[in-house]
Amino acid sequence: MLEVRNLKASVDGNPILRGIDLTVKEGEVHAIMGPNGSGKSTFAQVLAGHAAYEVEESSSVTFLGEDLLDMPAEERARLGLFLAFQYPVEIPGITNSYFLKAAVNEIRVSRGLEELDAMDFADQLKEKMELINVDPRFAERFVNHGFSGGEKKRNEILQLAVMEPRLAILDETDSGLDIDALRVVSEGVNKLRSENRAFILVTHYQRLLDYIVPDFVHVLYKGRIVRSGGKELALELEEKGYDWLRETEDALV
């Protein structure tokens, strides 16, 4: 589903990603862990198409068989790629339901489907809000405006549920959440797992992986994946800490 080959990206001439290779197949859950500054969020943003990053010509990313790197962000989303933001922006004046209806209809139109009318969309939204257990009043609140940190993250998961992507990238969705909020968010994600939907969980903390069990764990360090393994790798990392990584990796250089 997703093939990342030798992905190199920089911002303002400073290299951040130094050659990432990753293959994600349908239904898989990959966790990407790493210390602060290792390039985790950059990786997520580059996949979603953020224009602030310069991606090297030699890099290649294909998603569902299409060349992702030449595609504007909105087309990636329409193709089925979703990014849950680490810091979701506040949009005063635009309600969640208006925002999400526009998003869903852009995707539907791009796939040759008819637009949903207000009634059908409202039904669908209500169903998703129940599924992931968010307050029905979310629908008429302005997008993330005045939301608590936990509410913002939950709203990202609501958007994920409504947009039904093929690949969802969760960028530090667990950061800043207390255990109750983490549980709600994780339960939402687990309900959305399916055979044809893959996840990439970008996280700093092993704790998230107690709730969402990954198939693969990758460790990102200084812009490269330096370890890959099963879920037990996360536990090893938890036990030894990122310092262990710094010592072993920096010793190689």
Partner: protein, 442 residues
């Protein structure tokens, strides 16, 4: 560039007063005309060396004479042409004015209590309301500028609304002012007088609409509004002049104790629009809320000049204006608040937010607080900006392209002012208008 001989233009206006018909005009109205004339004689046309007009260049209006229409012309307006320009959509009492003159046959009274007057000012001067008109007309207007003096010098018609003591008018009153091609190269001196007696309540929509014509015209408007003790007025003003239409308006509001005045001013279309809104909070406990939205684009000029005077203690004022600025348009917002020495416990705040859609639009937004009392709470703020790239990226990551995102954001920005106005007959058409204006065109 040579100096524009604006004094010649003013002299030309003064010369035209000779043509003003005085047949049925009561002597006291003739006296007002003379007052307006003498004020005009000693007042320069507004120019940018005057403090209040520093950012508002109306030379295009000043350098020619827009002869005031002095007679109700044969305008050929019928119910269909009214419907085409109505915009407002819902049950309202309606009075129609064509080029400044009341056309009784085109109006309708819907659920209006019998004692409530909604009529032409010309008619009111002569009939049962003569005493009320005499008591208020020109009493609320200060010496504002040459165009308000011109309005008084040519004062003939406009709207007269009188709501008696403790009378509540539930249905909005729609005053529709149409500019037809007959107004081209001319001006309409529109004079409106709105009097709400003690405890009265009403919602009034002042709606200006023009047939797009090839030639310029001028709507020269003065509104005088008196709110009795504990009276409550919601005023919605919609400016949709023709593409070459100019709109210079001064609204003077006098508030007695415990009265409430909520104004919603929407500046939509017209070459030059200036809404001067002057409110005197003259009785304790009076409250005003002044909201506005200006949608500027092309080469147009929109100026909202607010002048608020807190004369007595314990009054509150809220000002919230927003502008959406596109093209090479020029916008001016001035929020001048005077808190006089006696006006202790004043609670005043104002905010002006501006969304830039182009790099070539210009805005001059300034709050001006002059506070002479020492126990007051006054705040102000102004912002000018465009939608940050992080917000645009968020939309795009949800499949919404940049043009659509900007349209949605603009609509949302305007919505905060539109939604504050609870007049159903205006809310839906206005929302639709804004949505259409800023949605990306396919």
């Amino acid at each position: 560039m040579s100096e524009i001989p604006q004094s010649k233009v003013r002299d030309a206006y003064l010369a035209l007063t000779a043509a003003r018909p005085n047949g049925n005009t009561p002597a006291w109205v003739q006296a007002l005309h003379a007052e307006g004339e003498s004020l005009l004689r000693e007042t320069e046309l507004p120019h940018t060396r005057m403090e209040e007009w520093r950012q508002t260049n109306i030379n295009a209006i000043n350098e020619r004479t827009f002869a005031p229409l002095t007679d109700a012309p044969d305008h050929g307006v019928d119910a269909d042409s009214v419907a085409a320009l109505r915009f407002v959509n819902g049950v309202c009492s309606e009075s129609v004015f064509v080029n400044g003159f009341h056309v009784p046959g085109l109006g309708s009274r819907k659920d209006l209590p019998a004692k409530v007057a909604v009529t032409g000012l010309c008619n009111a001067q002569l009939g049962d309301h003569a005493e009320t008109v005499k008591a208020h007309l020109n009493h609320h207007l200060g010496a504002r500028n040459a165009y308000t003096a011109l309005n008084t010098a040519f004062l003939q018609d406009g709207a007269f609304v009188h709501v008696p003591r403790n009378t509540v008018v539930e249905t909005p009153i729609h005053l529709l002012f149409l500019a037809t091609p007959a107004l081209e190269d001319c001006s309409a001196a529109i004079r409106n007088l709105i009097v709400l007696e003690e405890g009265a309540q009403a919602t009034i929509i002042l709606s200006f609409a023009g047939n797009a014509g090839a030639a310029a015209y001028l709507s020269n408007v003065v509104d005088e509004i008196s709110l009795g003790a504990n009276a409550s007025l919601t005023l919605c003003k919609l400016v949709r002049e023709g593409a070459q239409g100019n709109h210079l308006a001064t609204t003077e509001v006098h508030q007695h104790r415990d009265s409430r005045f909520h104004a919603h001013t929407f500046s939509m279309e017209g070459a030059v629009i200036r809404n001067q809104l002057c409110v005197n909070l003259a009785g304790e406990g009076a409250e005003c809320k002044l909201n506005g939205l200006y949608l500027n684009d092309g080469n147009r000029l929109i100026d909202n000049a607010l002048q608020l005077t807190h004369t007595v203690p314990r009054c509150s004022s809220r000002i919230a204006y927003k502008g959406i600025l596109d093209g090479k348009s020029k916008s001016v917002f001035t929020g001048k608040v005077n808190v006089l020495r006696d006006a202790q416990k004043t609670d005043s705040n104002q905010i002006s937010n501006n969304l830039m859609l182009s790099d070539t639009a210009a805005i001059d937004a300034k709050p001006q607080l002059e506070i002479y009392a020492d126990d007051v709470k006054c705040t102000h703020g102004a912002t000018v900006g465009s939608s940050p790239p992080e917000i645009i990226f968020y939309f795009r990551s949800r499949g919404i392209d940049e043009a659509t995102a900007r349209g949605m954001l603009t609509y949302g920005f305007a919505g905060e002012i539109v939604d504050e106005m609870n007049i159903d007959a205006v809310h839906a058409p206005l929302s639709a208008y804004i949505y259409d204006k800023y949605s990306p065109k396919i």
